[in-house]
């Protein structure tokens, strides 16, 4: 429970009044993004994403297991996130806390509700055997905006995942069947200014946060408001617009990085 650092707030607010951010970005501008895939040989798919200094690694493991009784012919996906103490002096070891749970659930819903993975193609034997997809998100370096970095790393990892059919004596490996990825963009508000892709400093003084995932048709695929502040309806509209715009560019980079 940290006290909001008022000096930092005053400094960033003053900058913002003059239309500026600490690192020189425009309000609706992302930091530099790097996407690298195939970084873990043991994983069926993996990607390391950097957004500025924030660094997230997602690894995909697949296995075989039973389907849920109510969906006997679809594969099962699970998303877990660990805010491991490697990534920040403030992260603690132990079972995931609220922040890690929210992170994992928001990434999970982004993938699940957009039906990114074609789980209906992951059935091996109805009611008996389906493919399991484990999405494990490792935060390596935390400098703000984990939601987007975690989401993007997970997309890139899934888009380059090979189903390990050979290891389970089910024929040749083949790419995980995937649909169009929804791109997640996060904004925060402080002192009546809304900025995209918050840095750590900006997150620490943020009053309210909004994550919007949009697809290539500019449709909305997921939203999540966070923190104990509030948005006006007008602000939400602007955030959606900026998310669509940034989403386009990020989608292009994602396609390029994953060879699609």
């Amino acid at each position: 429970m940290t006290i909001v650092p008022s000096i930092k707030r005053d400094y960033l607010a003053k900058l913002a009044k003059n239309g500026k951010r600490e690192d020189g970005r425009a309000f609706d501008e992302f930091r530099n993004i790097e996407i690298e895939t195939g970084v873990v040989s043991k994983a069926e798919g993996s990607a390391r994403v950097k957004i500025g200094n924030t660094q997230v690694l997602t690894g995909i493991k697949m296995g075989i297991g039973e389907p849920y009784p109510d969906t006997p012919e679809t594969g099962v996906m699970t998303t877990a996130a660990e805010l491991i103490p490697l990534a920040s002096p403030d992260f603690e070891a132990g079972p995931p806390r609220e922040n890690a749970i929210e992170l994992a659930r928001v990434v999970d819903r982004g993938i699940r509700e957009s039906q990114l993975i074609e789980v209906e193609k992951l059935c091996i034997e109805p009611e008996e055997k389906v493919w399991l997809v484990f999405i494990d998100i490792h935060i390596l370096d935390y400098d703000g905006n984990l939601f987007d970095a975690a989401s993007l790393a997970s997309l890139a990892a899934l888009m380059t995942t090979k189903v390990p059919a050979k290891r389970f004596e089910l024929g040749e490996d083949y790419p995980l069947p995937i649909k169009e990825p929804p791109i997640s963009c996060t904004s925060v508000k402080f002192n009546d200014v809304v900025v995209m892709d918050p840095s750590l400093d900006e997150e620490e003084i943020a009053e309210v946060r909004l994550t919007v995932a949009t697809d290539k048709n500019e449709d909305i695929r997921a939203m999540q408001k966070g923190l104990n502040g509030s948005f006006t309806r007008d602000e939400i509209k602007k955030v959606i617009k900026a998310s669509i715009d940034n989403g386009k560019k990020i989608r292009e980079q994602l396609y390029k990085s994953t060879g699609k």
């Binding site: 429970m1 695929r221 104990n228 509030s230 959606i240």
Partner: protein
Amino acid sequence: MKSEIKLFENGKRLDGRMPDELRNIKIKAGVLHRAEGSCYLEWGGNKVMVAVYGPREAIPRHTQNPLRAIVTARYNMAAFSVEDRKRPGPDRRSREISKVISEALESVILVEKFPRATIDVNIEVLDAEAGTRCAGLTAAAVALVDAGIPMKDIPVACAAGKINDQIVLDLGKDEDNYGSADLPIAISPRTGEILLLQMDGHLTQEEFDKAFDFALKGCHIISDLQKKAILEKYQSEAGGI
């Protein structure tokens, strides 16, 4: 969410509601003896009980914030509240819901008045049927008023969604399972500020706007029910004298 199932026909929904019609809602304030504030709410098939304790000293001390109170909502589903028995205790879903409700309530509670304190909002879902987070937050707001916790406004929550390409207010059970989008929001009805906002599924920008309008409308209707329940409580107390 799949959309193969017919959820909307001849301008009506499976349960006979119009697109912009709420399920039945009953709210009763001050229903528990021990709690400092409480509320029992029925919303369609949902039954929710909320008890508020505090402000009281936050324990252990390292959880205290020296400048303001912390608000700890605890959303819990009773083991028997769902079709297949739920294992007791918090799961990831309930912990996320607890977090977003806590944050929404903190937006309106005058937390600066109670440094180092905690305000505990215990939300028990006794019967569950789509929309429990909105039901829980709405009942929590009434229980906070009943407990005398000072707030800028009485928050209220409601959801809209999409079924068979039709935007509808307040998804019911089958609509929640087979619909194609769900948009729960919570607002401060006086200012229209948005305190909680989540969206799952698939909405065009136009659909989002319409769903948002529906949800806002629902919030304002329910806000009136909240105020009526609070009034009834005060009147019954006054009548008791």
